[in-house]
């Protein structure tokens, strides 16, 4: 995980929050994680492919999600319905899109996938061998966790999608056979 990927996302998130909610965000402590994480109530996943590849996840509580869409759309939401979901997913889309423009300026061209939304606290999400950089962003609406599991693409994978299964080199000592 290259720390150079971090700032484009933090800047993009700040720009987008200022534009959409007129609220600034405060960045909390950054942590590097390798294990699977337990999802927040709402997680938006967007993949990147190109010079940099991996997945970006935005996690928040339902309350924060609702507060965000209420502020963005200037209407009240009683439940986290389809419109609210679509609003939060779109926020993820715009932040990631904007971050990808900034990444491109830094020399890493990447395209982003459409968003997927996972709801349900307690499921675990694993980016497998990708380390994740976790950045909490806070404002009056609540806390939004941005998790970046990104790497510079290996050259061959830019043009070649088929990756053959490689036999595992080491066996896990914890595994019961």
């Amino acid at each position: 995980m290259n720390v150079a990927f971090l700032n484009p996302f933090v800047e993009a998130a700040r720009d987008v929050f200022l534009a959409e909610t007129q609220l600034d965000v405060i960045r909390g402590d950054i942590s590097l994680e390798t294990s699977a994480f337990t999802a927040d109530d709402v997680t938006v996943l967007i993949s990147l492919v190109g010079d940099v590849r991996g997945v970006v996840m935005l996690g928040m509580s339902v309350e924060t999600g609702l507060a965000l869409v209420e502020r963005m759309m200037s209407q009240s939401f009683a439940t986290f319905d389809r419109l609210a979901q679509s609003g939060v997913a779109e926020l993820g889309n715009v932040i990631t899109g904007r971050a990808s423009v900034k990444l491109e300026e830094a020399g890493f061209e990447a395209d982003i996938s459409p968003p997927t939304m996972v709801r349900g606290k307690g499921v675990t999400v694993s980016s497998l061998e990708f380390q994740r950089l976790k950045v909490p962003l806070m404002n009056d609406l609540g806390e939004i966790n941005i998790q970046l599991a990104l790497e510079v693409s290996p050259i061959e994978s830019k043009t070649e999608n088929h990756i053959p299964i490689v036999a595992p080199e080491t066996s896990d000592p914890n595994r019961s056979a």
Binding site: A12, A36, L45, R53, S86, S126, L128, F130
Partner: protein
């Protein structure tokens, strides 16, 4: 959801499972869903970006996942540990990679993302405005459900952040 994106995945899944696990799969009835779906124990998520874009999900029970990894690796797995997780994610990767080659032959170039693994049942996954074509596959080890939420590329995503408001006519 364009049905022509379906066959490349079905062909790829049969070819890969046959090559890697010698497992006979039988296809059940297709369905088109637009609401969010409730996850099975293990879900592999891979996105496609290119002329065809969206997400593909491979959902299965833990016992199906263990059965598949046991056959792939040729040694028994009783726990869904990190090696088993990596094996299942890789299986999704190989199937999707192979399907993407077939899609490219049909005129839809795409690049696939690295896999993400979602563990835990009863989470709701939504592909928002993209309906999903659901393909259930049955085998003696258990069921594998493939969800395809794909569409032809709309040129709005990345550029959405760059869009400028058009100048109002008459204002210099």
């Amino acid at each position: 959801m364009n049905v022509k994106f379906l066959n490349p995945f079905i062909d790829a899944v049969f070819e890969v499972l046959n090559a890697e696990t010698k497992l006979e799969m039988e296809r059940g009835a297709l369905s088109l869903e637009s609401d969010s779906f409730v996850t099975a124990d293990v879900t592999v998520l891979i996105s496609l970006v290119g002329q065809v874009e969206g997400s593909v999900f491979y959902g299965m029970s833990t016992s199906m996942a263990l059965g598949l990894v046991t056959r792939m690796m040729g040694e028994p797995y009783t726990q869904f540990d990190s090696l088993a997780q990596s094996g299942i994610a890789e299986l999704g990767n190989v199937i999707t990679g192979r399907a993407s080659i077939k899609l490219a032959e049909a005129g839809y170039e795409s690049t696939i993302s690295p896999p993400t693994l979602i563990e835990g049942s009863d989470a709701a996954i939504s592909t928002l405005d993209r309906p999903r074509l659901v393909v259930p596959l049955e085998s003696e080890l258990g069921d594998l459900k493939i969800h395809l939420a794909l569409r032809e590329r709309l040129d709005v995503h990345k550029t959405a952040a760059e869009l400028r408001t058009p100048a109002a006519p008459g204002l210099a």
